[in-house]
Structure formats: structure tokens, C-alpha cells
Amino acid sequence: MLKVKDLSRTFQSGDTEVAAVDSINFEVPDGQFASIIGKSGSGKTTLLSLLGTLEKPTGGHIEIDGKDVTSLSDHALVDYRRKKIGFVFQAYNLIPNLTALENVMLPLSFEGMHGTERKKRATELLEQVGFTADQMDRKPGRLSGGQQQRVAIARALANKPSLILADEPTGNLDTETGKMIFDLLHNLAKTQNTTIIVVTHDLSIAGKTDKSFTLSDGKLVSK
């Protein structure tokens, strides 16, 4: 269960304090697929960064599986992020000089998993997202956008996280590929009981998720 209580994040812009996220409250049960929609500058990305512990809130609390992550130290947050959270980015953000397989192995190596086991797990994950053995050995530059995003999803799943945060995962893809990626994420949420939160502009995607939140000027205007 993901619980967000009075979550705020303010920035100083000159003499003015800007609230990118302003006292937000919501909950997402385990295994649900939720979406956050809103205009540019509404605070979607900031909210996602806060949920992913990439940034610290200036107020409020985030509970994941009953644990308040806002009170964790920086060092503990790194561990927490590695074990509990997976990220999928709009621009895929794969490491360009590593193969698809090596990209998926990367978070497993951070976890300290042994080489052989690491390779086996990464191979399974890539097979799960529809990769062939030949494709696994390709570097990102030789993969299509949809393939790269599938690698990014496999990488996000590597350490069996309880929460996957996806920032515009279909934003750089054509409609068909975007639908395929959406279906993949949706299936993962159901089959692996993983909570998935997607930030998107695409209202058609938002309409298919279990929950949808709308942000406007940092405030949650609808659930």
C-alpha cells in the first residue's frame, strides 16, 4: 500500500516560494495501476520524484508498505530505492555502452547478486518483455524506442520492487507501441502484484488505469 499524507514540496524562486506539490493526500493499494495526469508544470514530475525518493519533501509523509520513507537517511534511501522502487522514464535512460542484458543486470549488481544468477535473472526479465537472445546482446543504439522502453521496464523490475514509477512511458512511442507498453505494465501490475504509478498526458491511458489522479498547480484536484 502506498499512502501519501499532506505531501508538499516547495522551491525558492528568487524571493518567492513556489509550491510544486501542495498538501497532497492519496492512497494506492498493492497491485493497482494508477495514473497521474495534469498539464505541464502541474507538479506531476515533482510528485513522481518524491514518491521515488529522488527528492525529499518539505512537508508530509510517504508510506510504502507501512514504512515512512520521508524519515530515512540518504544512505538508507539509496538502499530503499534499489530494493523497493523501479523507474521507467520517457527517454528510456538506458546506459548507452551496455547491452540490453547488461542494462538489466546493472541494478542486480548494485544489489550484490552473483554474476551467473544476475545474468539468469536479467535474461528471464528480458524474455518476459518479449526479447530474443539476439536482441539481448544489442546496445540501446541498435534497439527501437519500444524495445528500449521494454528494456527499461525489465530493468525496473529487476529487484522485484513493490512500486514502479513511470514518467510518460509512452511519450516517445507511436500509438501502437505505446499501447503495447501500457499493456505490459498493466499485466505486470496484475501478475506480480506490483503497484504501478504512471504520469501521463494521454487521457486514453489514464482512463484504463485502476485509479487516476489529476494535478493542477501542485494540488490534487480529482481522484
Partner: protein
């Protein structure tokens, strides 16, 4: 794939840039190693020279001016006090003078003897034409005229010494015929060079005159030099008696029982003789002689450190550039669970890869260039030192001892012999590349990598993982 491997692989992401970095680092480390090799080789030479110079003290009359008749002599009684000093194990005393030959000009004399009674029947084995052939540029005028008598002969050095095994400049002599003389026995026996014997048709047992007395040839010798062979050697008491300088000594060399006592013994001799004598230990003279080497050692040390710092700055700037280029990637690594330390280690591995490859090139440069560069530095420095010495005032006096110049400056027997020998071998330096050089090369690479990564590491730690979201 572990973090280290990832760092190593990252070093080859941009082959052209990596090659450029490695070459620059290689040159930097190579120069550093070349300078280290030079520094070590010169340092070893300095140590060898210092340890081999011996433990002698040169004693000469204070303020000795070559050619001046006003020079004060040391006295045997002064030197007897030196003999009795602690740690002084031997004392070689000499009194030298210059004998005028038939047809030669009147020359400056040592001490108070009359300039008219130092004539000899001998003729110098050195021809004036030989001197000019050697570029000596010797011009002799007698009574204001440059017209020389047909029987003109250069003056002859006469050396009274209590150790007649070598000349006063330290050159060893080899007895060719007859036998050596006793340096402490007052007799009219003399050693003359084989050249001089041939020139004057003399052999062992023949006689010649000097100071109006008849001297007997006890033996003939060869010193290996024309100047040295223009010398008559007699015992010290004989020369004191013949020249009328009873009790006078023009130079002395004290031998100290141990190099460890050299400094204290030198101080004791200075205290004993006070302002009457100039006292210099072999270490003092060697210190002057090896000064060019010490300069090279300093230059090479500064160059070594400078080259290493340049290497560190190069890798520092490169790593800063790389980190700035890969901020987004660092953000990704942090977002997916990479810790600061792990990511810093990855970049350090990259820096280390550059520097290790640079070190390999540097070692090749160092091994290939260490010897030649050291030799060039030493040779140039030695030549500069030699040129400056030759250009100095009075150099002709000490080298040629030309007419009208009087006595050569006392140079102090064994000490001079040692220093002379050292000067000859000063440029004979062998640069070796040992394990210590290899270890230093590796150490320099690690140092450069560590310095180069340090600031990069700080930059990495400052990258916030949320930047990867902002960069979308």
C-alpha cells in the same frame, strides 16, 4: 559485470578521446619517470663520490697568491701540531719551487730565498713549441724582448716532499729505473722523469746541479703528463735546505682515520693553524665538484614533481569533463539504486584505466629516455662547469704555470688526486631502471588517478538523482 569492469569499459567509450588522454598522460608520466631515473642516477653518483672521496684535509698557506713572492709559508712546527691532533693519522708535507734554467727568465720564488741561486743545469723536457702547439698561447719576454736565446728552456718544478710516491697535484708516479727516495731523509738524491733524463742525457747515478749544489739521480719516473714530467723530486728536508727555506712547507695533506671524523678533524686543524692557513676537507672540495650534479638533482626533482602534477591536472580536467557530460547517466545510476561510493568507484576505475595505460606508455618513454636524458643533462652541466672554470681568472696559472707566474697553487696531494679523479668520472653515470622505478610509475599512476578522481567524485556526490527526471 561489476563496477570496476564498468569503469574500465567506460574508458573506451570514445576511442579518439581516450587515445589522446592516454598519450598526454603517457608523456607526463614518461617525463616524470625520466626525471626520476636522472634523479636517482645522479643521487647514486653523488653518494658514490662522497663515499669514495676519502678522508683528507688540504692545508695551504692563507691567502696564497700564485706568483707572489709575498706568500707566507706554513712551517713544520705548525704542522707538527696538526700531526698530534686526534684522528689525524698521516700528514704529507710538500715544499715546491721553480728552478730557472739556462737562458730562462727570472721567476717568482716561494719564501725568502734569493731569486739568483735557484738555477739548475737541467733543461726542461718540454719544448716551447710543444706548449704553443697545445694552444697555450705562451708569450715569453726576457728583458723586454721576445727574442729568446737559442738555449732557452722552460723552468723546472722542484718538489720537496715527505711522500715522494706522487706529485703535489696528487698524480701518482711510476718509478721507471733506479729506486724511490726517502722523503724524510735529508740527502741530495733526486728523482727525475725519464723525459728529463733523456733530454739531459742522464741516468741513475748521474749528477746535475740545482741551487749551486750537486744532486744525484736516484731514479727516474713517469707521471703520465708532460707537466708532471717537468719535475724534480727531492726529500722535504733536502728541498728546505737547498732552497734556503728551512722549516717551510708550501702545502700539506692530512689524512683522517675515519670519514666520520673528517668534519671534527677539519675544525681542529682550522683551530690549530688559525689564520695562517687555508684548510679545506676533501668533502668540501667534492661538494664544490659535485655541485653541477646537485643542480641536476634539484632540476630533475622539480621536473619530476611538475610532470606528475601536470598529469594529475590533465586527468582531473578530463574527469570533470566526463562527469559533466554524464550527469544524466549518474542520475540514472543513482535512481536505480547506485550509491555515491559505487558510482565514484566506477569513475575512479575509469581514471585508473587511463592512468595505467598512460603509465605503460610512460614506462616505455622512461626506459628509453632515462639514460640519454641523464647523460645529456650531466654532460651539458659538466661542460658548463668546466667552461666557467676555464674562463675564470688565473686559470692559465694553475694549468700552465707559465713563466713569470711563480708557483702553482698548492693543491693538496691525495685530496687533489681524489677530486681530480672524481672530476674525470663525473659524467660517467649509469641510469638504471629497477623495480623501484616501475613501482614509482605505478604509484604515480595511482596518485594521478586518485587526485584526478577526487574532484570528480565530489561532483558525482552532488548530482541529485532527480535531475534525471528534470532532463526528460
Amino acid at each position: 559485470m561489476n563496477t570496476f569492469t564498468l569503469g574500465v569499459r567506460n574508458a573506451f567509450r570514445n576511442a579518439t578521446r581516450s587515445l589522446s588522454i592516454v598519450i598526454i598522460l603517457g608523456l607526463s608520466i614518461g617525463l616524470s619517470l625520466v626525471m626520476l631515473i636522472a634523479h636517482q642516477a645522479v643521487g647514486q653518483k653523488i653518494n658514490d663520490v662522497k663515499s669514495s672521496v676519502g678522508n683528507t684535509i688540504s692545508i695551504s698557506p692563507a691567502g696564497f697568491v700564485p706568483g707572489s713572492e709575498a706568500n707566507n709559508a706554513l712551517t713544520t712546527s705548525d704542522l707538527d701540531k696538526v700531526k698530534s691532533l686526534a684522528h689525524v693519522s698521516a700528514l704529507t708535507e710538500t715544499l715546491n719551487d721553480r728552478l730557472t734554467t739556462i737562458g730562462s727568465a727570472t721567476f717568482g720564488r716561494f719564501g725568502n730565498s734569493s731569486p739568483t741561486n735557484n738555477q739548475t743545469s737541467l733543461k726542461s723536457p718540454i719544448n716551447l713549441s710543444d706548449v704553443n702547439k697545445q694552444g697555450g698561447g705562451l708569450h715569453v719576454m726576457i728583458d723586454g724582448s721576445s727574442q729568446l736565446p737559442s738555449n732557452f728552456s722552460l723552468p723546472i718544478q722542484i718538489l720537496g716532499t715527505n711522500d715522494p710516491s706522487h706529485l703535489d697535484n696528487g698524480t701518482d708516479i711510476t718509478i721507471k729505473s733506479g729506486k724511490a727516495i726517502d722523503g724524510n731523509n735529508d740527502s741530495n738524491n733526486a728523482l727525475i722523469s725519464t723525459d728529463m733524463a733523456n733530454k739531459n742525457n742522464l741516468k741513475v747515478g748521474s749528477t746535475f746541479t740545482a741551487y749551486g749544489k750537486t744532486l744525484t739521480v736516484a731514479g727516474t719516473f713517469d707521471s703520465g703528463t708532460k707537466g708532471g714530467n717537468n719535475t724534480v723530486i727531492v726529500s722535504l728536508p733536502a728541498e728546505q735546505r737547498l732552497s734556503g727555506n728551512s722549516g717551510d712547507v708550501s702545502s700539506a695533506t692530512a689524512t683522517v682515520d675515519s670519514i666520520d671524523n673528517l668534519e671534527s678533524a677539519t675544525a681542529a686543524v682550522k683551530n690549530t693553524l688559525g689564520s695562517n692557513a687555508d684548510v679545506e676537507s676533501s668533502q668540501d672540495q667534492v661538494n664544490n665538484t659535485i655541485k653541477p650534479l646537485e643542480n641536476i638533482q634539484s632540476v630533475s626533482l622539480y621536473s619530476l614533481v611538475g610532470a606528475a602534477i601536470v598529469g594529475a591536472i590533465v586527468i582531473l580536467l578530463v574527469m570533470i569533463m566526463i562527469v559533466r557530460e554524464r550527469r544524466r547517466e549518474i542520475g540514472i545510476l543513482k535512481a536505480i539504486g547506485g550509491s555515491n561510493s559505487r558510482i565514484i568507484f566506477q569513475f575512479m576505475s575509469e581514471a585508473l584505466t587511463f592512468t595505467i595505460l598512460g603509465a605503460v606508455i610512460g614506462l616505455i618513454i622512461g626506459i628509453a629516455g632515462g639514460g640519454p636524458v641523464t647523460n645529456t643533462l650531466v654532460t651539458n652541466s659538466a661542460n658548463s662547469a668546466a667552461n666557467s672554470q676555464q674562463a675564470g681568472p688565473g686559470s692559465m696559472v694553475t694549468r700552465m704555470g707559465g713563466p713569470g707566474m711563480g708557483f702553482r697553487r698548492p693543491t693538496g696531494g691525495a685530496l687533489s688526486r681524489n677530486v681530480g679523479g672524481i672530476r674525470n668520472t663525473l659524467t660517467d653515470i649509469h641510469a638504471n631502471v629497477g623495480w623501484d622505478i616501475l613501482a614509482w610509475g605505478l604509484g604515480a599512476a595511482l596518485f594521478i588517478a586518485a587526485i584526478g578522481s577526487a574532484f570528480a567524485g565530489w561532483l558525482i556526490a552532488r548530482v541529485r538523482p532527480s535531475e534525471v527526471m528534470r532532463a526528460e
